[in-house]
């Protein structure tokens, strides 16, 4: 086990010194991403805006939307992410076992090829939060998937044949893969999941042609591991200094420090920077790991070619609530306080909506995007530190004490489900949680591959409310909610904004909803076969605009079993009944595709 890890480290060190080749794969991909008929990367484009210029479906006719076709994945469990549309082919992924289907859009969605990796089933128990996978990426004629067991595979897009594969982590240490890989220039970038197992988080870049490791930047550890320049890498304009990934940790706790990486990565081609956030420090018991625990809970801006960090910003120093900072960074050029800025907008689990200058890392706005947020009064704009309220501080209240009424809950005011931005309205559309918690930390000891959590939680809807979620429109200049829709359940589906002046999102009840981008007025809803935690996607084929979304959570609710399975069923007895029921309920996740 240990030798594998040090071999990888050694390799990382060797390869970072090599220079990377010219980026031709990326030019093709950048060109493709500007064509709104296709959807060639997880968020549609590098800026993570989830915005489409298509407007055949618009605020006037969206109420006429109908199901065009649907596709059953045959896999139960939570379906996150969404399909890719490359030319006339759609690529669909599933949760564990991580199947991939290539469908021919010219031929009634005939399956051109499908792929199912062989994975060790012992991967499943080390996945903290359902066996999800957030999707595929495309580049250089290949489809990339980051499997649950941390294998990154490259398949030829035409045939589904494997080009190369590489193991990024080790499930025996609790390291898993859930996020989509991202193709940037001549590299494929993958993070790592396993914050609840004491994994040390990292972002790793592999060569798109060969799968060779190009660089790996850890979230904590020595400067050479975290790829910072003590003099030139800045935190709110100041150099981070030597050993910034070590000196806010007790002893060698950084080795099991968490800070995992499992969100959506964005990229600015002009600045050559990739942006992403890191997760919670391990364990969830803050008393056990004194210090700021840098660089967990941090926004990273790294040079794509070398991995070197240009700037960092730690949002929640010394986390006491599991407020992972992994949510997507949306790049948008907007006016902030009267000045046009190359902005980065981020809705953190901790309940603050941040606007930064993505070139310099300067903090411009930090305001609550859910009025229920109470763990901090505000963010000090000079130090960037949230001003924590003692009553809701699980460190202040101490181990084995339940801190009650903390808002938001551990799953945050918003989780990974990505928000959208419309350049037409200048607004951000954010799916949120409106949930609070009681949190009781306790002492734990670390064993490799075993859960390393150290807190018990109870979660419930925010006080006074009968709803667990909101869908909001956010003004990132003023740091204010423009409008807000009460949702009975948390919104765990990624949004889509379009030039048709509409915004789409899905709900846990299974509704695909379309609302007016300016007012939030509901214009359309359709109930898909299961709850939606996937992201809404749009594309155009043969002159027609389509909206696609994956539904699928947990399985079948079981309503309708009525008197149970005791009675004779068609003379087959209970066994026959179960078989029928299985046929009925094993449809698994479904991709539903709509058109006018």
């Amino acid at each position: 086990m240990k030798s594998t890890k040090s071999a990888v480290l050694l390799l990382a060190g060797m390869v970072t010194t090599l220079t990377s080749s010219l980026a031709t794969a990326n030019q093709e991909l950048e060109r493709m991403s500007s064509d709104p008929k296709q959807w060639v990367m997880p968020a549609g484009d590098y800026s993570n805006q989830r915005y489409s210029k298509l407007k055949q479906i618009n605020s006037r006719n969206v109420n006429e939307l109908k199901v065009a076709w649907s596709f059953s994945t045959g896999v139960l469990r939570g379906h996150e992410g969404g399909p890719l549309i490359i030319g006339d082919v759609m690529y669909i992924h599933t949760p564990f076992p991580n199947k991939i289907f290539a469908l021919d859009l010219n031929d009634d969605q005939r399956i051109i090829w499908s792929y199912e990796p062989k994975q060790d089933p012992s991967t499943i128990p080390v996945m903290c939060c359902d066996t999800v996978n957030r999707g595929l990426s495309y580049g250089d004629g290949k489809i990339f998937m980051y499997q649950a067991d941390t294998t990154l595979i490259a398949l030829h897009a035409n045939t589904g044949k494997k080009a190369w594969s590489v193991a990024n982590g080790d499930i025996a240490l609790g390291e898993t893969g859930t996020a989509a890989p991202h193709v940037i220039k001549d590299k494929v970038l993958v993070g790592i999941s396993g914050g609840e197992f004491g994994v040390r988080g990292s972002m790793t870049a592999y060569d798109i042609k060969t799968g060779k490791l190009a660089w790996r930047g850890y979230s904590m550890g020595p400067d050479s591991d975290i790829l910072v320049d003590p003099k030139r890498t800045t935190h709110l304009g100041k150099a981070v200094g030597k050993n910034s990934g070590l000196n806010t940790w007790k002893g060698d706790q950084w080795k099991i420090g968490g800070g995992t990486v499992w969100g959506w990565y964005s990229y600015d081609p002009d600045l050559n920077l990739v942006y992403y956030g890191t997760g919670n420090p391990s364990t969830w018991n803050p008393t056990q790991r004194p210090g700021d625990n840098r660089w967990s809970m941090t926004i990273f801006a790294r040079d794509v070619d070398t991995g070197m960090a240009k700037w960092v910003y730690q949002m929640t120093p010394h986390d006491e609530w599991d407020f992972d900072g992994i949510n997507e960074m949306i790049l948008a050029d907007i006016k902030v306080k009267g000045k046009k800025r190359p902005a980065l907008v981020h809705f953190d689990r901790n309940g603050f909506g941040y606007t930064l200058d993505r070139k310099t890392g300067e903090l411009l706005v930090a305001e609550k995007f859910d009025p229920a947020v109470n763990w901090a009064t505000h963010v000090d704009m000079k130090t960037g530190r949230p001003q924590v309220v003692d009553r809701y501080s699980t460190e202040f209240n101490g181990e084995d004490v339940s801190s009650t009424g903390i808002c938001p809950a551990a799953l945050g005011s918003k989780d990974q489900q990505p928000a959208a931005f419309s350049p037409k309205t200048g607004l951000f559309y954010v799916p949120t949680n409106h949930v609070c918690m009681d949190y009781e930390p306790f002492r734990v000891s670390y064993t490799a591959g075993q859960p390393y959590v150290g807190a018990t939680l109870a979660m419930y809807p925010a006080p006074g409310g009968t709803h667990m979620g909101n869908f909001i429109a956010w003004d990132a200049d003023k740091g204010k909610i423009k409008w807000s829709i009460d949702e009975r359940f948390s919104v765990w589906s990624g949004a889509l904004a379009t030039a048709g002046d509409i915004v789409f999102y899905g709900t846990l009840e299974g509704y695909l909803k379309a609302v007016d981008a300016k007012t939030g007025k509901e214009l359309y809803r359709f109930k898909t076969p299961s709850g939606i935690i996937g992201n809404v996607t749009t594309y155009q084929h043969d002159g027609k605009q389509y909206i696609a979304v994956l539904s699928g959570i947990g399985g079948w609710a079981g309503i309708g079993m009525a008197a149970g399975l005791t009675e004779d069923s068609d003379g087959l007895g209970a066994v026959g009944g179960y078989r029928h029921l299985q046929e009925y309920t094993n449809l698994g996740g479904v991709l539903t595709v709509f058109s006018l």
């Binding site: 809807p461 009968t466 846990l508 947990g554 309708g560 008197a563 029928h580 046929e583 009925y584």
Partner: protein
């Protein structure tokens, strides 16, 4: 005087309509059909179960609104999810109340129909 009575009657009728429409017959056919399909798959693919299962969903639809039905369906489905995110649906008083209300209504409906 006469006007007042008429107003009262109108108010009463409106209220009555509101109360009734909130609870009866707002289930889409698709959702009733889905229930019947699943119920027959579980119990038997026969005319007898078609009648029993249809009766059950009609009884449920008379007792609760479709929105309440969807709430219960959602909580039950979320309870099958793995990991920390399922916790709020398995442990919170809020979701337990949704399910216990729903269970008492469905068991009444089953008693009525089976």
């Amino acid at each position: 005087m006469r006007k007042k009575i008429r107003n009262n009657i109108i108010t009463f009728t409106l209220l009555h309509l509101l109360l009734v429409s909130a609870y009866a017959n707002d289930f889409p056919t698709q959702s009733r059909a889905e229930f019947v399909f699943a119920c027959m798959a579980a119990n038997g693919q026969s005319q007898a179960y078609l009648a029993k299962c249809s009766c059950t969903i009609d009884e449920i639809a008379e007792q609760i609104s479709y929105a309440e039905y969807v709430d219960a369906e959602t909580v039950l489905r979320m309870r099958l999810m793995r990991g920390e995110r399922a916790a709020i649906f398995t442990e919170s008083a809020w979701s337990n109340e949704i399910i216990s209300n729903f269970n008492s209504i469905t068991s009444d409906a089953e008693l009525e129909c089976f």
